[in-house]
Subunit: 320 residues, 2 copies
Amino acid sequence: MDFLYEAIAEDFERLEEVLADAFRVEGDLMGEVADYVAAGRGKRLRPAVVCLAARACGYDPAGDHHILLGAAVELFHVATLLHDDVIDRAPLRRGRQTVNARWGDDVAILFADYLYATSFDLALSTLEPATVRMLSRATQQMTQGEFLQVERRGQWLSEADYMEIITKKTAVLFSAAASLGALVGGAPAQTVLRFGQYGLDFGLAFQITDDTLDYEAQTDRWGKRVGSDLAEGKQTLPLLRTLAVATEEDRATLVRVLENGRDFATVHSYVARYGGIGHSLDRAGDHCRSALGALDDVGLVNEPMNLLRQIADRVLVRTH
Amino acid sequence: MDFLYEAIAEDFERLEEVLADAFRVEGDLMGEVADYVAAGRGKRLRPAVVCLAARACGYDPAGDHHILLGAAVELFHVATLLHDDVIDRAPLRRGRQTVNARWGDDVAILFADYLYATSFDLALSTLEPATVRMLSRATQQMTQGEFLQVERRGQWLSEADYMEIITKKTAVLFSAAASLGALVGGAPAQTVLRFGQYGLDFGLAFQITDDTLDYEAQTDRWGKRVGSDLAEGKQTLPLLRTLAVATEEDRATLVRVLENGRDFATVHSYVARYGGIGHSLDRAGDHCRSALGALDDVGLVNEPMNLLRQIADRVLVRTH
């Protein structure tokens, strides 16, 4: 995705400054945690979507609201990851110790709270209540998604549960990112909604693809280790589809395998036999096309629009 | 404090409706947790301060911003208690099982996140970014206070640490409550600041008094069980003062008692001998007087101002 970061290099330079500033905190322990979390940075895909949507809608090049909102969305995302890791009792994230594993659950919870507050504070700098409301609504939906996950623990999810969970946990924030960009870009309400739809579908395609590549018997180009979701007990679409369509006998055998060590090769053979991977990639493809369709409806023609199309295309390419 | 609730009964009727609505949530598990948390309601002191400050500043009787902000502050307070109980691994709160003890840390963390988001959402309904900013700044300070507490775990706090912790964990939210009321009441900036000072000093007096009454060898009129903070290992002002002024020998003996079962009668005898209770109540009294002084500076004369004075007086009465 280098093409993307090159195209918005100036915005991202300012974004990194705002983020560095947000991670500059009082207190020895808090400072240590902040430095550690800041060093574990991700791909910044959500702020990229904010910046591109703002640029696509013709936001004032000298303005900084898209930067502030991009930083707000990124901090918000990092905060949810910190809470997720506490809830999942995860020891590692992106190959590094999690904050909960290193400093304890209390520190992880508190630092996430701090980041949530800082995220809202950055959004408030735009002095537009609508922007903060998008974040607060996204939080509500994300916690509802996590609740559903906790509620279904120890059961097999339905495909509908899976879709509801990834919608609330992932897609809603991408949707907020795209809407926020359009909003600061001064787009009319109908256009903001279309960008929101783009973000939602893009987020779904992104998550389904990510979950599906975990079953691909080759190293994914984004460097994810195959089989790691299964090893962590995550129930994702390829497996859930397989459980839904397998014969009663195969389902029973597969469930036994899953309950006894989850041997990846065996699980993979069932998922492959029942077309779980193909089905999932088809669903991801559907959402990519919907995302692109939402952009078509917007009817703007410019370079940032092309880039928004390209990142959706890129997810689609991963699916073939 | 019945006089207080009678005086603002109409506001509180609307407040309870807004809160009941906020606790009406989607999902079976989330709904169950919400009902349980709603049933464990506290004294609603923070929304009372919001309402009184708004009324004192002449806020439109037909308006509802003070109600929305009162509810926002209360939900925010409840959310921090949920996180506090996870961090302290507390089994009980107000005589009932905590959410973490009953449903697990994950559920408590998530439901608190939901309440934080709902709190911000309610504040946003006023369409005044300044109100939400007060909440986001309060969150940042509260997490900093909790961080300091975690950082000092296993050490004896200094009086300065104690003051910093209760300022950030308790007083800042009372300060936000009073400022928010004045802000929606249309008060000039200088008056908003004075109300903020009132809230800060009132919050400090309130917390010090509460902490000190835990050492009083009689049942407090607010129904708190004597010695319960000490039993939970909480380091509060009467004890910290005693440790600071005791002879080296007495300090060593007291520390041994504290490290071996914390026998209340023995600890109490040291605290009494070194005037730890009197010193603390004097500090609380100082802050009550500062709170009242801040109201004097405001220069308004009306019934809500009298009530704000009375609740500060009431804390002062507890100290004598």
